[in-house]
């Protein structure tokens, strides 16, 4: 009897397992894909993190914006080259320093069939400009009012002259919602099933699994390419790579440098490396009691670091050395400071001696868990010229908090982005900011540039600031990172500088 029981159990388990095998939905959908259609049925991405929300105005994470950009449209957008071009607005002009007038595209419909009018623009922009609980409020709160002139004309009035207004309006947070429907159902209900004017409609969000979008055939810029798009969540790096290698996803974002060769060697996949907005840099305290207050010491630190060695050894080439934060593609970039670096360890030792530190110095450097490895290599390089770097390793959330509280060591090793694609990112070095750097000339230039509506002069002001910072080592800039995308060979895809997935920029390779 006992034997019979065991036997029947074994058979049951075998049956169960084989039943599972036959009902694998992946295999079924895969064969049906290949049997029919032109290849544009389904595009899949593997992201390290899930989207956090469907509300573009209450979000601060690029991986979320990267998905939402396909659902909603803004007045203006950035094209693949980073230039601001029309989206819902066909034209715009500046009426005076604080008033901008936008003419809207006519005949645009939302996913629910509503027509887009100036009222929707007023509602959407005033929501983010007025609601201080929204995460993007601080970016838009300088908008005083949005006035409806007629159905297809709006004026945006800012409190002060704002040369960055178009940059703000081109971010995903400036998305336009259907006002009447939004107000009818309320924000909670609206974002359960959001409506926009984008090329793809929201279809499904299985948390921590995937987000699915489907084609919006009435898209105002013409019928989109893909039938449906899935953004799956695969947090573990090596798993994400495995999904790509087994042909389960088309694009895998943020792959480890160690896997670049493996993906390139695999038949049917390759790695695409494209610059992203993040610049790795070392901020050095200029407060009186710190040895780094002496510009010679800061220069010595800069000269002791061989940027290219870090790029080659740790990032396997996926970065570009820079001496400025405002890299090409950003407003006011000084390209003479890009793709270059200074390395001269002998001169570094001389400078230390001149500053009176023949016997060497010790510098404490705070770094978060993302960049620990790079910071350790920098520490080794500094040691070679007689600077002992004590690394303080912090978990990112702790690092962010202490940074905000200005409670970090005299050296801070950070990777910093530039959401606005603008020289104003240098405001970091303005008086009363997270860096301790103080320079009156820099303060004046940054203050002037913040309200300067003359583009040419404004760009010059930022270029001057970059030259001063490079000379003075307000920060020691190391390199601009590149995004690492594993891509299926069936796609023709160039990842964007802003890391957004604009789906219709991706086509099949014929």
């Amino acid at each position: 009897m006992k034997k019979l029981k065991w036997l029947s159990m074994t058979i049951a388990i075998t049956l169960l397992l084989s039943a599972c095998g036959f009902s694998d939905p992946d295999q079924e959908s895969e064969t049906s894909d290949k049997d029919s259609g032109d290849g544009y049925e389904l595009l899949t991405f593997a992201n390290p993190a899930d989207i956090t929300t469907l509300d573009p105005q209450n979000n601060n994470v690029i991986t979320t914006s990267a998905v939402l950009v396909n659902i909603y449209s803004k007045l203006v957008k950035r094209d693949a080259a980073g230039e601001i071009v029309p989206e819902l607005a066909t034209a715009w002009e500046q009426v005076n320093d604080t008033t901008w007038e936008f003419t809207l595209e006519e005949g645009v419909t939302f996913h629910n069939g509503d027509d887009l009018t100036a009222k929707d623009v007023k509602f959407s922009l005033e929501r983010v400009a007025n609601d201080d609980t929204l995460q993007q409020y601080s970016v838009f709160n300088k908008i005083e009012e949005v006035t409806v002139i007629d159905d297809y004309t709006v004026q945006i009035i800012t409190e002060e002259p704002d040369p960055q207004l178009l940059s703000r309006l081109s971010t995903v947070a400036a998305s336009i919602f259907p006002a009447a429907y939004f107000e009818e159902v309320g924000s909670e209900e609206f974002f359960k099933n959001p409506i926009g004017t984008g090329a793809y409609k929201f279809s499904k969000w299985n948390r921590d699994s995937y987000v699915e979008l489907t084609k919006f055939a009435n898209y105002f810029e013409g019928e989109p390419n893909w039938e449906s798009v899935q953004f799956t969540v695969v947090p573990e790096d090596s798993t994400r790579v495995a999904e790509l290698l087994t042909d389960k996803v088309d694009v895998a974002f943020n792959i480890p440098t160690a896997d670049i060769d493996r993906i390139n060697d695999n038949k049917g996949t390759h790695v695409s490396l494209e610059p992203i907005q993040r610049v790795i840099q070392l901020w050095l305290s200029t407060e009186d009691d710190a040895p780094t207050a002496d510009p010679r010491v800061r220069e010595a630190i800069d000269l002791a670091i061989d940027n290219q060695v870090i790029i080659d050894e740790i990032l396997l080439g996926a970065a570009t050395p820079t001496r400025t934060h405002v890299t090409p593609g950003n407003f006011g970039a000084d390209e003479s400071l890009y793709d270059t670096y200074e390395y001269d360890p002998d001169r570094a030792k001389e400078l230390l001696a001149e500053a009176g530190y023949e016997d060497g110095i010790t510098v404490d450097i705070s770094v978060n868990n993302y960049y620990t490895e790079m910071a350790e290599v920098v520490g080794g390089m500094l040691q070679d010229v007689g600077i002992t770097a004590n690394l303080e390793l912090l978990e990112q959330s702790q690092f962010a908090k202490r940074l905000f509280d200005e409670d970090l060591a005299e050296g801070v090793f950070v990777g910093w982005g530039n959401d606005m694609f603008d020289g104003s990112v240098l405001d970091l070095f303005r008086e009363e900011n997270v860096t301790s750097y103080a320079n009156e000339e820099v303060d004046e230039l940054l203050e002037a540039a913040a309200y300067n509506m003359n583009e040419e002069k404004r760009a010059e002001q930022y270029q001057q600031v970059q030259q001063i910072l490079a000379e003075d080592r307000g920060a020691v800039y190391l390199f601009q990172l590149e995004g690492r995308y594993g891509v299926s060979d069936r796609l023709n895809y160039t990842p964007r500088l802003d890391e957004l997935y604009v789906i219709d920029e991706i086509t099949l390779n014929e």
Partner: protein, 304 residues
């Protein structure tokens, strides 16, 4: 009845102290507002958002408010997702629970036969082999086992899907990964206790009565050697849920572990609290169940 009443009296203060500890740890660990604001935000922006979210209150005020809500069954609102914390957790909990139960199943199916077998063949090559493998199994981090299983059984020999949770076949690799360490532990335990029981007088008696060896082993030896195994399984089940945090990340499993991880990183207090609270409840329930199963297995055990 008295047993249940006493347990309840222990549970409530335990949970209360637990909420205080977790609240304190999350409060110290991170500032949710910082991660919610754009990189270039100013101190002013931060103050505005803190006030809007009620996070500018001192620690004890926040904690008292939290407890007031908790007593009425309200776990609070997630800052990261702008949704009730408990909904977020309950949405993901079934996936974690199923994974843990599957892993437990894997562990039991592997370990019981191996443990008995090793004991019966004590001091043979097979015994040494089984004991050796189970030590290795316990020593390997499940993170690494998971990656290796994906490499061999999903990439090199594509039998199983790499990750995800869409169909039953997606369960196999994660359940094995999570179950291996527990299987190793139970194998060694069963082996040890079978060896102990097999020497007892009542086993000798059964044999001398002329019962078949299979019956002796299954009825007399096996059942009696289960008691320590049940203890370990009962104590380990909550730990399996802990281990699921790692395994869920490796296999993109949409469970509560990953939610916990991201909530800790962003300082999302309400969600962390809700998860820890539920895991604590499961631990307590698992312990109570273990006690109950004892009584069934061994009628000599009585509670006063």
């Amino acid at each position: 009845m008295a047993f249940i009443k006493r347990s309840f009296l222990q549970i409530v203060p335990t949970l209360f102290i637990l909420t205080l500890i977790v609240f304190g740890l999350v409060y110290v660990a991170g500032d949710p507002v910082v991660s919610m604001l754009p990189e270039n935000a100013t101190q002013e922006d931060r103050a505005v958002l803190e006030e809007a979210l009620g996070l500018n209150e001192p620690f004890y005020v926040q904690y008292v408010n939290y407890i007031k809500d908790l007593v009425t069954g309200n776990f609070g609102q997630s800052l990261q997702y702008q949704e009730p914390a408990l909904d977020l957790v309950m949405e993901r909990f079934p996936a974690t629970l199923v994974l843990s139960l599957m892993a437990l199943g894997v562990a039991i199916v592997i370990s019981i036969p191996l443990g008995i077998f090793a004991a019966l063949k004590r001091n043979t090559v097979l015994d040494f082999l089984i004991s050796g493998v189970s030590i290795v199994g316990k020593a390997m981090p499940n993170y690494w086992i998971g990656i290796m299983l994906i490499l061999f059984f999903a990439v090199i020999i594509p039998i199983f899907p790499v990750s995800g949770a869409e169909s039953p076949i997606h369960f196999v690799l994660p359940a094995v990964t999570l179950g291996v360490a527990l299987a190793a532990e139970i194998t060694r335990l069963i082996r040890g206790s079978v060896l102990e029981v097999i020497e007892q007088d009542f086993v000798q008696t059964a044999r001398s009565k002329g019962q078949k060896e299979t019956i002796v082993i299954l009825r007399h030896v096996f059942l009696n050697s289960l008691i320590p195994a049940v203890t370990i399984i009962g104590l380990q089940f909550p730990q399996l849920i802990g281990g699921a945090i790692v395994v869920e990340t490796v296999f993109s499993w949409p469970g509560v572990g990953r939610l916990l991880l991201s909530s800790i990183e962003t300082g999302d207090m309400a969600v962390v609290q809700a998860i820890v609270f539920i895991i604590a409840l499961i631990t307590i329930v698992a312990n109570l169940l273990t006690d109950a199963v004892y009584r069934i297995l061994d009628p000599r055990i009585k509670y006063k």
